[in-house]
């Protein structure tokens, strides 16, 4: 039971850190894709979306190569901390972030596209710089979609298995997350223990998705038609 709690805690920690990474990165990429015209936009779109189309195991393998002794992140962290990131919880968070990024970017892009760009032009004309415009106009108008995207990314991070097990392994107490613990218990024939953790996964997932859908529904019929968007 104690190990169950520490597994859940580590999973939440990894998913939270992954979300903390995907939130700013995903927002910036979504903003580029929705609001900017530039060379290489298509390439950026494909690159960010690629994890959606690849088996997570392949993503994990590529990531292992980057954070391992031969990769530039691996060499950087080795020279800084004396070890690579491979088989640490940080690698697990990184894997979760990369795999969930396409979903986050897609949600954010939809949310940003729903904000009339003329409102941003108006804000600029009233003296707001681009960052202030984003924070005081764009974000408040897109925040439901943004929160929905964050939740979706968080759920995806919680359930990440394929990439995580390659790059972070399945070390109890260090990198063993909910999915990898369930995998271990099923492999060992501990079905009761596996079911218990599976149930925890279901509860966490249902809560997050319910909130996600509720927010999206409010976005769809809010803001412009009723008082929904008014503070």
């Amino acid at each position: 039971m104690n190990s169950d709690i520490s597994i859940v805690a580590l999973s939440l920690q990894i998913a939270l850190v992954a979300t903390a990474v995907t939130l700013p990165v995903g927002m910036f990429v979504a903003w580029l894709l929705v609001r900017k015209q530039f060379r290489g936009k298509f390439v950026l779109d494909v690159f960010v979306s690629l994890p959606l189309a690849l088996p997570p195991v392949v993503v994990g393998y590529a990531l292992l190569w980057i954070v391992g002794t031969n990769g530039w992140i691996g060499q950087l962290s080795e020279s800084l901390f004396g070890s690579t990131l491979a088989f640490t919880w940080i690698a697990a968070a990184l894997a979760a972030a990369i795999v969930s990024l396409p979903l986050v970017v897609r949600s954010f892009a939809a949310a940003l596209a729903g904000v009339d760009p003329r409102l941003e032009v108006a804000a600029r004309g009233l003296g707001a710089g681009s960052i202030r415009t984003f924070l005081t106009v764009t974000l408040p108008l897109a925040y439901r979609g943004v929160i929905a995207g964050v939740l979706l990314g968080f759920v995806r991070s919680l359930s990440e298995f394929g990439a995580t097990i390659i790059v972070a392994g399945n070390i109890p107490g260090r990198t063993q997350t909910l999915p990898s613990a369930i995998f271990t218990r099923i492999s060992a024939g501990n079905t009761d223990d596996a079911w218990r953790l599976a149930l925890v996964s279901v509860v966490l997932g249902v809560i997050a998705l319910a909130v996600h859908n509720w927010l999206l529904k409010r976005t769809a019929n809010g803001i412009s038609s009723s008082n929904g968007g008014f503070r």
Partner: protein, 354 residues
Amino acid sequence: MISFDIQLNHPDFSLSAKGEFDDGITAVFGPSGAGKSSLLNCLAGSIKPSDGWVTLDGTTLYSGSNGIWVSSEKRRIGTVYQDGALFPHLNVRKNIEFGWKLLPEDQRRLDPLEIADLLGLTHLLDRAPNELSGGERQRVAIARALATSPALLLLDEPLASLDAARRGSILNYLKRVHAELNMPMIYVSHSISEVVSIASSAMLLRDGEVEGFDRPSALLLGAISTSDEVDSFDNILDGVIGDSTDYLTTVRIGEVDISTRHQNKNPGDRVVVSLGANKIILATDEPTNLSARNILRGSVSEIWSNTGKVFTEVDIGEKFIVELTENALSDLGIAVGQNVFLVFKSSSVEVYDA
């Protein structure tokens, strides 16, 4: 004073405009696609021209050759858009204060609450934008732009989405703002009636080129008599309600009294009067035994004649534009300086709240 010489090159559109606008109300007029909004966006700084320069009150805002570019948030130019572009998540007060709050205190020349009062918005401050009528939204947009104490106010088709009653009212508010705050304005429109009513000079744009710059009536009526772009002109004038009988109400416009249908208003109420140029009959002799309640003596001050459509300006103390046909013009032998009578029915006059 703003002056500019702008080139804007796009694959499918180009604009080349040079001008110098004084501190009055200047209209930029032209058919849709003429480049009016592009010019405005270049002045506001939301579009960067391909080449040229823009200066406002002696400060260079853009210079292609010197690589100067002042971004739109630093230009001190307020813009009012066609649909208002109010921030839907902020109430009226917060919309109006949005730009004002960003100003350093020593640059806050205008107080948001006084502006709200000037535009008749005081009772709406706690409303959300989606709880406002179209006219109210535009007034909030004007107040929001003014609260930034701009050196220049740009208005991009501000009345295009409003009905006739609200148009007259907003025009009146704009005139009041201009008079009380000495606010220079550039007013983009494709409505000649609006332009003639509000602007002291006008620039005519067509296909991305400047076709003329003159007094609005002189420029525009001459230009449109050749085209089908505008088929009617409305005289839009400020008036004050006078005496009423059971069926008629007198409205005083400047020094002239005209009869309108009975209005449920009190003597002294300010109104906006709209009278179609094609609703007025010209007579060279004073007509008698007519049912029309308005017969006003004046003299022809200008004639714009082209194939088919003719506009004349008749001075009866106030200037009225009258539309007639080429045949009528030649049959009656009407010429500039001639004394004529304007005849129109009281029911042809639309009266709106100012």
